[in-house]
């Protein structure tokens, strides 16, 4: 066997990559071939140098850069709350911001829609119609800023109407409290009345005297404010009854 055929084997031999049998053959050849021993020495020197240079580790900066990028991407996917990278990951995504904007917009629209719906009671009061305070020329003093629901009582007997309001027969309102106000004085609407702050609104309500369901002849001729608590604790309906208004007199028996 000539030396050229041994070259490849010697290249494997320096790395310890030969099976035992071939290794012995190479060693036997090296023992008697000087040029192959020189080749072996040169290959070993190259091997050492190669391992030293190519085996050098990449810089910490490079490693950290990859680490941050990978973990950032992964936390983007998992949205792991415990991650220090989660905000980097999330904030980099433009769709997150778009989704957040859409979500806020949608909830605003929903809120608006639902608050409109809430002013109209359901169930036995389906026939209720709403009108704004501005639309009404005859408002009790300190007109409420909210849309007032004017309810037509269901075509029941007077006693049943009362039962509805107190929640005994109807599904809603589940509870009712009647407030009555003495006197009939009313002021003209002022811009302030139309757009009062919540504080003013609360003051207006505080001016109404709580009362049980009016049964006296006398009481039914006074302005009434009925506050109804529905199943939804966030929904409170005020029913204002003007004592001298023709149609509200129909509610005397309430």
């Amino acid at each position: 066997m000539n030396c050229v055929e041994f070259e490849q084997r010697i290249a494997l031999y320096v790395g310890g990559d030969l099976p035992d049998q071939e290794m012995k053959e190479v060693e036997a050849h090296l023992a008697m071939c000087e040029s192959c021993r020189a080749l072996e020495a040169s290959l070993r020197a190259t091997q050492d140098m190669f391992l030293d240079a190519a085996g050098r580790e990449p810089s910490i900066d490079m490693v950290q850069s990859v680490h941050r990028r990978v973990m950032g991407k992964i936390y983007e996917q998992t949205a792991d709350s415990g991650s220090p990278y989660r905000w980097i990951g999330w904030a980099r995504q433009r769709w997150v911001w778009a989704a957040a904007a859409i979500l806020i917009l949608a909830s605003l629209i929903l809120l608006r829609a639902s608050s409109k719906r809430m002013t109209t009671p359901e169930g036995s009061y389906e026939s209720a119609k709403t009108h704004s305070t501005e639309a009404s020329s005859r408002q009790p003093e300190g007109a409420l800023p909210l849309q007032i629901t004017e309810m037509e009582p269901p075509p029941d007997t007077p006693s049943t109407q009362g039962a509805h309001l107190s929640g005994k027969a109807g599904s809603r309102p589940s509870f009712c409290l009647v407030l009555s106000r003495r006197g009939k004085s009313r002021n003209q609407d002022t811009p302030e009345d139309r757009h009062p702050t919540m504080k003013q609104f609360q003051n207006q309500m505080a001016g109404l005297k709580p009362a049980v369901l009016p049964t006296d002849e006398e009481d039914v001729h006074k302005d009434q404010a009925v506050r109804m608590f529905t199943e939804n604790e966030n929904v409170v309906i005020y029913w204002l009854i003007s004592a001298d208004k023709e149609d509200t007199h129909e509610h005397e028996t309430v």
Binding site: L43, T46, P58, D61, M62, H67
Partner: protein, 205 residues
Amino acid sequence: MNIDPGGALLARSVCPSGWERLNRMRELLLSAQAGDTKAFETVMQSFEVRIIRFAWRQLGDRDEALDASQEIFLRLYRYLHRIDPDRDPGPWIFSIAVNVCRTSARKRGRHRLEPITESMEEGDALVSMDALPYDRMGQMEMVREGLAELTPKEREAILLRDVEGFSTRVVATILRSSEGTVRSHISRARLKLKAFRDEYSRRRV
């Protein structure tokens, strides 16, 4: 004699610390597969230096190596469920690395590395290049240029065998090739590097 890093059985019988390492890795892999991101992070940490080094040497370009390394670990995360926790994940991770680097090189549209003419890329390494002795700098440059002289397959084989220390059998598994082919690539690569070194020394003199 090289200990096969991919041989779990060998590590278990010969090297107790290797057995402990594998056992710990097994637990980490199981946790990571169960969705523990921190466990995955630890698995990644134990491979990132080697993987980035491999990608850099294989591709010869720092930025390409950064992108490839990122892709390698994201793929590792994506295919985590396919790993057998009872085996050393090293060969499996390196087979991902090989595939990603091949794709990266294909995208670049060149199969051989351009010899890098700019000064030491390891300049941002722990040791400043100015502090390195001249012959060391020469070695780095020479090895880089020498690696660029190899075919991609020869480079893969020599890096996995000599730098990463996998046995020829494991290298064959990683490269989805036969052990004979791998040996052939390795011996050719070593001879080419030796010839390049001889030539390089002559040029310098």
